[in-house]
């Protein structure tokens, strides 16, 4: 086996050992504990817990709202990254720093702030209510909170790639008679696509697990605006540890499957683009 000669750099064994140990302790161990706890349930009980209509309704809300939020940020995030990289304007550094704010803000604070703004008596909620749009305490509020929380992911993954892009390529395309749309779709998009997809995936994954901000703005009505993490909490409130872990395992499995799918898509794209070159 050529295992050792894979790199000319020394210290491969040591660093691989460290990485594996670290990943095991920080990631695998808690997950293993979670899964081993659910092994205390037999299959029929497990299935009864995770397929209960009320729980199933929360999957739809959680995954649906997360998907919408990630899609919104896919476009808006790209736009913000583009503006920040390509155009000089006053206050640019300030705006750049602003993008990270949702990372730094405790999520509960974000939730309360958004709920206060968009509540029927809030600064934005009141005029919107007059237009017949209700945001706080509806599923729309969940999407709003998730969009806020996951904004930095797409911006921060796409930004460095855009910065490193060779402008000459676009200029060459332009001088060869490509239209603006062609430059975007044939030159820029293929380059940033992997980063865009990564940002989308991160945003999506983060949104699925989000609890703190959503809980304050969702209204938490059964079958309508309950998110899956709330189901886990409410099981814990009944000291039903097994039920809580069962739902957590479902979330974990679905998230993992989705991440795997997107990673696979990325790999396939990279390969396809690589061959084209």
């Amino acid at each position: 086996m050529k295992f050792k000669q894979s790199s000319v750099l020394p210290g491969f064994n040591l660093s691989l050992g460290y990485s594996l140990l670290y990943l095991s302790l920080i990631v695998l161990l808690p997950l293993a504990a979670l899964i081993s706890k659910t092994l205390g349930l037999d299959w029929a009980t497990f299935w009864a817990i995770v397929s209960e209509p009320r729980v199933v309704a929360t999957y739809k809300v959680t995954f649906g709202a997360s998907l919408i939020a990630a899609l919104i940020n896919l476009f808006v995030g790209l736009l913000i990254a583009w503006v920040l990289v390509r155009y000089p304007f006053p206050g640019k550094r300030f705006i750049d720093a602003l993008v990270d704010l949702p990372f730094a803000l405790p999520t509960a604070v974000a939730g309360i702030a958004l709920a206060t703004l968009y509540a029927p008596n809030g600064v934005l909620g009141e005029p919107l209510e007059k237009l017949g749009i209700k945001i706080a305490f509806t599923p729309l509020g969940i999407v709003l909170a998730l969009t806020f929380i996951t904004l930095p992911f797409v911006v921060r993954t796409v930004q460095p790639v855009l910065e490193d892009m060779e402008k000459e390529l676009e200029e060459a395309a332009s001088s060869l008679g490509a239209t603006r749309w062609q430059i975007f779709s044939k030159v820029i998009l293929p380059t940033i696509f992997p980063a865009l997809l990564t940002g989308f995936t991160l945003a999506f994954a983060r949104a699925i697990g989000e609890f703190g901000s959503v809980i304050f703005i969702a209204g938490n009505m059964p079958f309508k605006s309950e998110i899956t993490p709330l189901m886990i909490i409410s099981k814990l409130e009944q000291y039903d540890y097994l039920g809580a872990t069962a739902i957590a395992v479902v979330m974990l499995a679905v998230s993992f499957a989705l991440l795997l799918l997107i990673n696979g898509l990325q790999w396939w794209m990279a390969k396809r683009l690589g061959r084209r070159k």
Binding site: A115, T116, F137, N220, K224, L236, Q238
Partner: protein
């Protein structure tokens, strides 16, 4: 001896002496709305204890949702005493964590509940919707704010109060109780996770016509938002919520704090402790204190959780997964 050594020796000595006279520290793990009460009670107890036993005691407080706090104790938070809003939370510590011995409710008078509260209705100033009793909460066009019975003890008491009112009304029975409770919960626009969050929704966001919560929470609202902003309505009948306390046997035996922890809870029944409770709008047990504060505690018809065979039976019948509350929630969602 160099100056430096002298200094460090002096420092070491002083820290040693600090250790020697270090006070006993108690950790009281409690629920959300007890914050204000223990803020008043703890200094009073420290003073009493120091005078009687010539020993200092410092009390640390931890607050949060009642069940969440119980879970922390089960998972290893070293509480000397727990002061909860439902006996089922203490029972859970007995059963799941085994840090408290069975029979805790017999160690103090009144089933180890030094005071009680009850569910009242809080309405907007002037009571524009004319809400007087539980039946009004189920009428169409009324919005009711309650915390989620799945995640909050306060919410569970609200549900039980409504159900009990349904039973006690003229010609009341289980079917009528279910009807009334369903009507009330279909008027709930937002389900907050806990009692404080529900208060915020009602007072700060100005959502809803009526908030159902504990009587002592009503006093907190008065202190926080001003007395002129709302009115407290006493329904014709309500639930008596006993607020139980217990010494955490495993922890006090390990830390050697049993004596002071026992005394700490005992003092809750003293006239001073009862008076502090009354000042915080918790209904005292002591007859003299009750008489003194009679004005602030209108007497209404009350029923206890015994009506449902105790909290444990009520939890099973109403709040477990798939039980009556879940069925009602599903019915309401289907109708909308």
């Amino acid at each position: 001896m160099s100056l430096l050594r002298k200094l460090s020796l002096a420092l070491a000595l002083s820290s040693l002496s600090a250790l020697a006279s270090a006070d006993t520290t108690l950790l009281n793990v409690s629920y959300d709305v007890m914050r204000d009460f223990y803020k008043d009670y703890n200094p009073a107890f420290s003073k009493y204890y120091e005078a009687k036993f010539k020993d200092k005691v410092t009390i640390q407080q931890s607050h949060g949702g009642s069940s969440k706090q119980a879970r922390s104790v089960i998972d290893g938070l070293e509480a000397d005493v727990v002061t909860m809003n439902q006996s089922t939370d203490i029972d859970a510590i007995v059963e799941k964590g085994k840090q408290i011995n069975a029979g805790w409710e017999k160690k103090y008078p009144d089933e180890a509940a030094p005071f009680s509260s009850l569910q009242v209705l809080i309405v907007r100033k002037g009571n524009p919707k004319g809400i007087k009793d539980w039946a009004d909460l189920g009428k169409s066009g009324i919005q009711v704010i309650v915390p989620n019975p799945k995640t909050s003890g306060n919410g569970r008491y609200t549900f039980l109060a409504a159900w009990g009112a349904g039973l006690k009304q003229a010609g009341g029975n289980e079917a009528k109780a279910r009807e009334l409770t369903t009507a009330i919960f279909s008027n709930v626009p937002v389900l907050d996770a806990g009692g404080r969050a529900a208060t915020t929704t009602f007072m700060q966001r100005q959502i809803g016509d009526v908030l159902v919560t504990f009587e002592n929470e009503a006093e907190m609202i008065a202190r926080e938002f001003g007395r002129g902003n709302f009115e407290v309505i006493y329904p014709s009948v309500s639930i008596d919520a006993d607020l139980p306390v217990a010494v955490v046997d495993k922890v006090v035996d390990k830390k050697g704090t049993r004596k002071v922890a026992t005394e700490y809870l005992n003092y809750l029944w003293s006239p001073e402790g009862q008076e502090i409770a009354a000042q915080n709008y918790l209904r005292p047990r002591n007859a003299a204190v009750t008489a003194k504060y009679a004005k602030q505690f209108p007497s209404i018809k009350l029923f206890g959780v015994a009506e449902f065979g105790g909290l444990k039976a009520a939890q099973k019948k109403f709040f477990d997964d798939g039980a009556i509350y879940d069925q009602i929630a599903a019915e309401i969602a289907k109708k909308k």
